[in-house]
Symmetry: C2
Subunit: 146 residues, 2 copies
Amino acid sequence: MYTIGQIAEMFQLPVSTIRYYDKEGLFPDLKRSSGIRQFGPKEIEALRVIECLKKSGLEIKDIKLFMEWCSKGSDTYAQRRELFLRRKEIVEQEIAKLERVLDMIRFKCWYYEQAMQDGNEDHLNELVPNHLPPEIQKLYDHAHEK
Amino acid sequence: MYTIGQIAEMFQLPVSTIRYYDKEGLFPDLKRSSGIRQFGPKEIEALRVIECLKKSGLEIKDIKLFMEWCSKGSDTYAQRRELFLRRKEIVEQEIAKLERVLDMIRFKCWYYEQAMQDGNEDHLNELVPNHLPPEIQKLYDHAHEK
DNA sequence: CCAATACCTAAAGTCAGATTCAGGTATTGG
DNA sequence: CCAATACCTGAATCTGACTTTAGGTATTGG
């Protein structure tokens, strides 16, 4: 069993954040001894899942629902699985979006390199679209398409 | 030239958001005719860049700085290029993090499928770590490593 | 034993990024 | 010409996720 300070150290989180998570109901089975929180393996796994679900874009109030499902036992396996399947889709979409963002960024890096070589960006604005080197045209199209 | 309503339609953004961006200084060269904003190609490209920089995690106040550099002309090419190079690193790191999140999510999907087949998750908790199918062990390690 | 340290709560404050509101001005189509 | 619609402003409000503050209680090491 660990104190809140040890857990804070372990996850590199401020103590206040962990208290906040508790207040929001993210540790439904957390035990106490004379008022002091006692974190066990269940809460450690919960924090790993919280990290994961947060990065997947899930809000605290929905993470709370998930943690309540976990407390309810085997009746909620299907719901829990559905939630992770949905998060999987969301994260895959997010990665796809970021790949498009990267294309735009790579195009801009190329663009400013050209502009620096040439001393101005005027002809570049005229060039775009349809007269770029094919490698760069691809980045441009990908970044600017609807 | 377009009105704010047409631009809102074009980018699928609320009119209020575009006004907010203007108030924050994201269109330093925006023209007006009798008080009404007139959006030209420059502002349209600005919005595309705003979209990109926002998704890369840049804050509005820093996007404002970038837009000011754009207004200043060729003196700022190097700064602008540096900014995009930095965003490239940030986004690449973000994608890497999301890939790890995906590993955790895939593990959880597998886990709940097993639990549903077996009717409980008790033996799964004992199993973890080191007795998983190798394909799944990899996901687990990747998701749980420090 | 007692001071320093770590823990506790409830409530208020912060921050970014919008969104809404109240009260007005400009444009447009029948 | 005039009603409906789209535009304008500044100020206030909202949201999510924390963080800080004020005032206390519990534990621990010398």
